[in-house]
C-alpha cells in the first residue's frame, strides 16, 4: 500500500497521540472548561484560516467575505441542531451548513471571481454583508435577536476530527495538480491561462472549497458558544480571519495553524488586562508585520524546515 508510507504513519501517530493526550488532560481536569474554550477557539480558527489561506494565500484571490460563509454554516447548524437535539442532528447540521456555504460560494464566485485584487475584495465584502442582512430579516433565524440555547455537541473529539480533516484535505488539494493550477494563478494569471489552465474554474473551485470548510467552522462555533446573532459575522470577523492568514504567512498552512494558536493563546492571556489588551494585541501585530512582513512562516511549511539544505525552491 502506497498510502502506508513511513511518513504518513508518523503523521497518523502524531495526530492520535495529540488527541489522546489532550483528551486525557481534559478528563483528568488539568485542562479545565476555561482552557477548553481556548482549544475550541484554536481549532475553529485553524479551520477558518486554513480554508481562507487556500483562497487568499494559494490562489491569490483577496477575499473579505469569509465570515459570510461561516455564518451560513453557523445558522444551518444551529437551526438543524435546535430541531434535532442529538449528535446525528449536530453532524447533519454541519454538513448541511457546509454544503449550503459551498453552494453560495459557487453562485457568488462565478460572477465575482472575474474581478481582481481590491475589486474582488469589495465584491466579497458586499456578499458577506448581503448574507448577514438576509439572516437579519429571516424569521427562522430570529432576526437580530439571534438564536439562543443551541445545544453543545462540539467537543474535543469533533473539533480535533474536523480540524485534522480540514488541514489534511486542503494540504492534499494544494499538492495535487488542481492545487498547482491554483498556485500558478496566484503567480501569474496570464501565464497560467496561456498554459491552458481554466483560471475561472480553478478560482471558483478554491473559493467553493474555502466556503465548505468555513461552513464547518461556523457550525462548530454555533454549537460550542450556545448563541449566535447576525452581527457576530460582520466585516470585523472576516478581518480577524484574514489577520491570522497574513500573520501566519500567505501560502503556508503551517503558518495559519501557528498563527491561529498564537492569537488564541494571546487573546486568552490578555483577557486579564481589560484596559490595555487591545493596544497590546494591535502592537504585537504591528511589530510582527514590521519584522516579518511575509508572516511567521512566509510560504514555507514546517516540513520544509526538516528537509536537507540542497532542496529545490518550493513552488508553493
Amino acid at each position: 500500500m502506497k498510502a502506508l508510507t513511513k511518513k504518513n504513519l508518523l503523521i497518523l501517530g502524531a495526530i492520535l497521540l495529540t488527541f489522546t493526550v489532550v483528551q486525557g488532560l481534559i478528563s483528568v481536569g488539568i485542562i479545565n472548561k476555561f482552557y477548553e474554550i481556548t482549544i475550541a477557539m484554536i481549532c475553529i480558527n485553524i479551520i477558518l484560516a486554513v480554508s481562507l489561506n487556500l483562497v487568499t494565500g494559494f490562489t491569490g484571490q483577496f477575499s473579505l467575505g469569509h465570515a459570510g460563509f461561516m455564518s451560513i454554516g453557523a445558522y444551518f447548524g444551529a437551526v438543524i441542531n435546535l430541531q434535532m437535539e442529538s449528535t446525528g442532528g449536530f453532524l447533519l447540521g454541519i454538513f448541511a451548513g457546509a454544503l449550503a456555504a459551498t453552494l453560495v460560494g459557487i453562485l457568488i464566485g462565478i460572477p465575482t471571481l472575474r474581478l481582481k485584487g481590491d475589486y474582488l475584495a469589495i465584491a466579497t465584502l458586499g456578499m458577506a454583508e448581503i448574507i448577514r442582512v438576509v439572516f437579519l430579516n429571516l424569521d427562522i433565524t430570529n432576526g437580530a435577536a439571534g438564536l439562543s440555547g443551541i445545544p453543545r455537541y462540539t467537543n474535543w473529539l469533533w473539533l480535533c476530527f474536523f480540524t485534522v480533516a480540514t488541514v489534511l484535505l486542503i494540504n492534499n488539494f494544494i499538492k495535487s495538480s488542481y492545487g498547482r493550477a491554483c498556485i500558478s494563478i496566484r503567480e501569474d494569471e496570464i501565464a497560467a491561462e496561456s498554459m491552458g489552465i481554466n483560471t475561472t474554474k480553478y478560482k471558483v473551485m478554491a473559493f467553493a472549497i474555502g466556503a465548505f470548510f468555513a461552513g464547518i467552522a461556523g457550525a462548530l462555533h454555533s454549537s460550542y458558544f450556545y448563541f449566535i446573532r447576525p452581527d457576530i459575522f460582520g466585516f470585523l470577523k472576516s478581518i480577524d480571519i484574514l489577520i491570522i492568514v497574513v500573520l501566519g504567512g500567505m501560502g503556508s498552512i503551517t503558518g495559519s495553524i501557528l498563527a491561529a494558536i498564537l492569537l488564541a493563546v494571546l487573546t486568552t492571556y490578555l483577557q486579564a488586562f481589560t484596559a490595555v489588551r487591545m493596544i497590546i494585541y494591535a502592537l504585537l501585530l504591528v511589530v510582527i508585520m514590521i519584522f516579518r512582513p511575509q508572516g511567521i512562516m512566509g510560504t514555507k511549511e514546517i516540513s520544509d524546515l526538516f528537509k536537507s539544505k540542497k532542496k529545490d525552491e518550493r513552488i508553493g
Binding site: N32, M41, L136, F225, Y226
Partner: protein
C-alpha cells in the same frame, strides 16, 4: 542582523508570557489565602466595556462599583470585603461565554453580574447552569430565553433586575391611549434590534386592543443617519403619536429630523432613550413632547433616590442615568443576598436571590417573582426642552 532581530523579538515574547503567567499565579495564591480566611467575597463583573454597546456596560459598571465601594467602606458584608473581578467582553457573545467560564472556573466567584444586553447575557446562561453559579443582569430585558428557557422551565441560576420588553411595550401603548388620548399611531422601529422588535410587537397588540389604529409602520437599521425619506412619507398621514422603539443614537436623529420637518406629534420610546447622547443629537428644542418608559426617574421625591443622585453626582461628576441606577441596585442586591444567605456558597446565594422579598432599591422596591423576574413598577418620563419634566409611575401588572 535580521536573525538577531527575530531572535530578540521571540525572546521578548517568551519573557512577556513567562512573567505574565507568574503574575497570574501570584494572584491565584492570594485568592486561595482569601478563601481560607473568608475575609473576602469575589464577584465577577462581565460587562461590555468596549464594542458597540459599551455605553450600557460602562454605565452599569459605574453603578455597581459605587455600591461595592459603599459596602466595603461600611465594613463589607459581615466583615467580608467584596472583591470585584472586572472583565470586558467586547460586546461579543462568544467572548461573554468565555469570560463567564473564566470567572466561574478560574476565579471562583460567588456570582457573576452582567452582561448588560440580552444577547450577550443569554450567551452566558448555559455556563451558569453548568457551573451552578448564579448570574444576574440589571438590564437584559428580552422577553424570551432569559430567565425561562424555551420549554418553559425557569433557569434556576439566572436572574434579572428589570422588567421585560413586553411590560414596556404594553405600558407605552396604554400611556398613548389613556394619557395622550391617541387614536392613530405611527411606528418607526429599529429593524436590526431584537429589543425594538419586541417593543413594537407588544405596543401594536396593546394599542390595537384599546381601539387604536397603526397607520404606518416604518423601519430603519442601526447606524442609519438620514431618516427624511421615512419622515416625509409619514408627514402626509393622519396620526396622534409616533412610537419609536430603538436606541438613542438613531432616536436622537429621528426626533431632530422630524421636528425640523414640522412634525409636532408626541414621540414615545422606551429605556433605550435614556442617555445624555439623546440630548446632544436631537438638541433641546426638538425634545418637547417626548415620553419614554424608564427604570427610574431623577424627579422621584423618594429620599433614597435623591440620596443616590447626590452621592453619584459627587463621585462621578455627572447625573446618573437608568443604567447607573440599575447597576447600583444590582451591586446592593447581590450583597444583600450574600448577607441573607450567610455564606459564600453559590447555591445558598442563589436561593437567597430567589427568595428576595421587598428589596428597596433606587429603581423601585421589588420582590423576586417565581420566574426570576422582579415584580416592580415602571416610570414614564416626559421631556420638556430636553429636560425631564414629568414622571408617571405605573405599577406592576
Amino acid at each position: 542582523m535580521k536573525k538577531i532581530l527575530v531572535l530578540l523579538f521571540t525572546l521578548v515574547c517568551v519573557v512577556g508570557l513567562v512573567t505574565g503567567c507568574g503574575g497570574g499565579a501570584a494572584n491565584e495564591n492570594e485568592n486561595d489565602n482569601g478563601d481560607v480566611a473568608a475575609t473576602e467575597v469575589k464577584i465577577g463583573i462581565n460587562y461590555e466595556l468596549t464594542g458597540n454597546v459599551a455605553s450600557y456596560g460602562e454605565s452599569s459598571v459605574k453603578g455597581i462599583m459605587m455600591a461595592f465601594d459603599e459596602i466595603n467602606a461600611a465594613g463589607g458584608i459581615d466583615g467580608m470585603k467584596i472583591v470585584p473581578i472586572k472583565v470586558d467582553n467586547k460586546s461579543d457573545p462568544a467572548e461573554a461565554t468565555s469570560l463567564a467560564t473564566r470567572l466561574m472556573t478560574q476565579e471562583d466567584v460567588v456570582a457573576c453580574l452582567g452582561p448588560a444586553t440580552s444577547g450577550n447575557y443569554m450567551a452566558t446562561i448555559p455556563v451558569a447552569m453548568g457551573n451552578e453559579i448564579p448570574i444576574i443582569s440589571a438590564s437584559a430585558t428580552a422577553d424570551e430565553g432569559v430567565t425561562v428557557d424555551k420549554k418553559g422551565n425557569v433557569n434556576e441560576y439566572v436572574f434579572r433586575l428589570c422588567y421585560n420588553d413586553t411590560f414596556q411595550g404594553v405600558t407605552m401603548a396604554n400611556f398613548a391611549a389613556n394619557n395622550l388620548s391617541a387614536k392613530n399611531a405611527v411606528i418607526i422601529q429599529d429593524k436590526s434590534s431584537d429589543y425594538a422588535e419586541g417593543l413594537a410587537k407588544n405596543f401594536i397588540s396593546t394599542f390595537e386592543g384599546t381601539g387604536g389604529t397603526i397607520v404606518v409602520q416604518e423601519g430603519y437599521v442601526a447606524k442609519d443617519k438620514d431618516f427624511n425619506a421615512i419622515l416625509t412619507k409619514i408627514k402626509g398621514e393622519e396620526f396622534d403619536v409616533i412610537f419609536l422603539p430603538g436606541y438613542y443614537q438613531e432616536a436622537g436623529l429621528v426626533i431632530k429630523q422630524a421636528r425640523d420637518l414640522g412634525i409636532t406629534a408626541p414621540v414615545l420610546g422606551a429605556d433605550g432613550f435614556d442617555s445624555p447622547v439623546l440630548l446632544e443629537l436631537a438638541g433641546a428644542d426638538a425634545l418637547n413632547d417626548v415620553y419614554f418608559s424608564n427604570h427610574y426617574s431623577s424627579l422621584d421625591k423618594d429620599p433614597k433616590v435623591q440620596d443616590f443622585i447626590a452621592a453619584y453626582t459627587e463621585k462621578y461628576g455627572v447625573e446618573p442615568n437608568a443604567f447607573n441606577a440599575l447597576g447600583y441596585d444590582l451591586g446592593n442586591y447581590i450583597a444583600d443576598a450574600i448577607k441573607r444567605a450567610g455564606s459564600t456558597d453559590p447555591i445558598a446565594v442563589k436561593d437567597a436571590l430567589a427568595g428576595t422579598e421587598n428589596f428597596v432599591g433606587v429603581t423601585g422596591s421589588f420582590s423576586m417573582g417565581a420566574d426570576h423576574n422582579p415584580v416592580k413598577s415602571i416610570v414614564v418620563i416626559g421631556l420638556k426642552d430636553g429636560v425631564q419634566s414629568t414622571s408617571v409611575k405605573v405599577g406592576p401588572k
